[in-house]
Symmetry: D2
Subunit: 128 residues, 4 copies
């Protein structure tokens, strides 16, 4: 409490409304190029892969935090209206500089109506 | 992942170092007076009850968030040095106005070395 | 740009609507007791002294930051609804530990409709 | 107070150390492609154009906020170490959806040693 909602592969979900609900609340992490030790890596966190989330005054994605394992790297906060009060995929790109051998990237996001959501972790080897 | 560390009653813990570790990382929630519907209620979140946490540049309490059930009410962020770089109990007081019948207050805190920590929930009846 | 709106003594303002507008958007800083070097000091930042601000979904106090001179000490962020969607004085209490000879406390607050507002600075001698 | 430091064209500055100081603390805003009403626009805020800023535990870029005129769109917060404790250009990309006729983008950034810095505004016509 509060519940940490976790992404579930929506191909395993039957009801369309539930697919939409899970997908639009889940952060998805991708990186640009490959991770090299000491080199800047762009990490994109995008809310929803196939579905979009409202940007209503009383229902919006308020924040996204990016972790490497247990360590918070950066966070973004949003105010409703940034996306024109239209449905969208809230997205933020952070730059990080990996120094170890592996990254275990995971994101948390907060929806003002549906709470905390955790991405599937993205584990990447860092070229030395 | 990241792990949500939860408070464990330190009377059940044997090792002194572990009691200290758990206590100083745990948010404790108290309220001033009693909760009445529509009336402002001061909610205090204090890190550590019996032990104090460092305020070092590379090891400090970076943030505290307060939830009512799944709903985030408010958050505070800190920068090391605010507490003079001395050990202390990071503390923040938020004012909220309860409108329902019960509050289920819970806090999350983030330590830059030891990750996310969750308080024991504080459940309170709201006088109508 | 963006404009940093500064508090103006509302006794010098004629129109009631303007008094209300200025007062409810201005952070006011007070401290509990007196400042002593190395001792914890509670600093209260309250929005509005004589008037209250809405807590509407599209119009609320989104954040308050506390500075000592040029140095940010701590920040708080809010989500509309915390105050029951009723008019109120958003308030937060931070604990700090002064180490120097003087504090020059100042707060910035952000209203989602009316931008950034700066408090009158509170200058305090720190007992050594 | 606190001072809002504003970018000054460093070609007009003589001393190399001062060019470096101003440049590395200034947010620079660019957009990807052109702004169209109702279409997502990626806005990049990068600290420093020709010089880099430390990512030391006691000296780092702690936050960046993006405004459209007086309206805050989004913010990012950072923790030292994200950039490997090496000098770098802290950068964040936000997505926004412009709905009006013009954008007046401006960014504020906060350095834990050198305070608040404001970008040169970027004014863009939004194709209707």
């Amino acid at each position: 409490m509060p519940k940490i909602n976790k992404y579930v592969d929506i191909d395993t979900v039957e009801r369309e409304a539930k697919k939409d609900f899970i997908d639009r609340h889940s952060p998805f992490i991708t990186v640009e190029g490959s991770a090299k030790k000491g080199k800047i890596l762009s990490v994109i966190v995008k809310m929803g892969n196939e579905y979009t989330h409202p940007d209503d005054f009383d229902h919006y994605i308020e924040s996204i935090s990016l972790f490497n394992g247990e360590t918070k790297l950066a966070g973004a906060s949003f105010i409703s209206g940034t996306l024109g009060n239209e449905k969208s995929n809230t997205q933020v790109t952070f730059n990080i500089r990996p120094m170890g051998k592996r990254l275990k990237l995971v994101a948390h996001a907060y929806c003002t109506k549906h709470g905390i959501w955790e991405s599937t972790p993205l584990e990447i080897a860092v070229a030395q």
